[in-house]
Subunit: 206 residues, 2 copies
């Protein structure tokens, strides 16, 4: 079970690390962090650096592809080499997935045409510009394409994938292993539910 | 606002990256990943490598200390240099926090004596051996010491900290930014709720 996470300068770390902590527990999981060149890759905040273990050119197949988002995903929308690699990998996957604005990369690669999909709430119009229909759900499954909403939603997506790949008992075991019994202190985690003041704060912080 | 994450071989990546994605949004956040030596540090699964940006010896103060757990945390319980560093940093923090078995390191450093605290469900006895009283809550606050339960609980903890440090509007904004509206597909995220079959699966997988 080869699970491949493409990473690129400006990715959002939690988009990748959330699903990673679930999917790495799959039986015989073989995890690859792929990038243009192996070595350090820095996140969108410029504060966290993850090591890519392989170059895109060295990775020709994946059972599960997990494309994270982040400011770098938006910058990658015109990166034909990256989009081409995504298309080539997708041709052989069992599951092609994205977290947050990673779905924009799937869209730009032409993989979401005519499909329902989700993304970070700030990227809805851009997602739809690639021929997808935005669905305000946390995880959207369309055949083998699975898109998840913003950042933290990758954990929910990975647990659903684990169920599909290894069965419910395994998925529940992984949920217990990461003690995923979420208790957010506020109910501001979606655009529909967040108070206006929180939205204004984010706008001002940009 | 200096936020310091000590990392060590065998840490659990999500323990650090969950809180990181929230706390890095604090006004004037200055994030440091500290380790014995700067450079690559590999997680407990041996599959993910994060870069430490400073050596422990270079980090003398922190406003917020976030100690992750993982197999390496258990191995660190006899590492007097690490425990000593934790004690020195704690002396000047505004908040000293842990995620998962990171609380064992706080315990071994002598910081939890007589306090209520939490940890990963698999480490309860060990936590109590350091003079703490285990509390089956997701986040436990005792003065400036905040301990969180297993792995994914660091996100909940970080949002509570964000509220205490920057106020509720900021914390809600950060929750919206990471679209943290969790929808786990199963209700197996705590030891009390997980079915026996999931517990048996984890035991067999060890």
């Amino acid at each position: 079970m080869r699970i491949v996470f493409p990473i690129f300068d400006g990715f959002t770390a939690l988009d990748a690390v959330g699903p990673y902590e679930v999917l790495r527990m799959l039986p015989e999981a073989d995890v690859v962090f792929a990038a243009r060149t192996p070595g350090p890759v820095t996140d969108g905040a410029g504060l966290l650096t993850l090591t890519a273990t392989a170059a895109f050119t060295e990775v020709e197949t994946a059972d599960v592809l997990v494309v994270p988002g982040g400011p770098g995903a938006r910058r990658g929308l015109a990166d034909e080499a990256l989009l081409d690699w995504i298309r080539r990998i997708d041709a052989g996957t069992r599951w092609t997935t994205s977290v947050c604005t990673g779905s924009l990369l799937l869209g730009a690669a032409g993989l979401l045409k005519g499909l329902s999909a989700t993304t970070h709430w700030s990227a809805v119009d851009l997602l739809e510009s690639y021929g997808a229909t935005y669905t305000a759900e946390r995880v959207v499954t369309q055949g083998k394409i699975v898109t998840a909403a913003g950042v933290s939603s990758g954990i929910d997506m990975a647990l659903r994938l684990a169920d599909l790949i290894a069965g419910r008992v395994a998925a529940e075991a992984f949920q217990l292993a990461i003690e995923y019994d979420p208790q957010p202190p506020f109910d501001a985690g979606s655009f529909a539910k967040a108070p206006q003041a929180a939205k204004d704060y984010l706008k001002a912080a940009r």
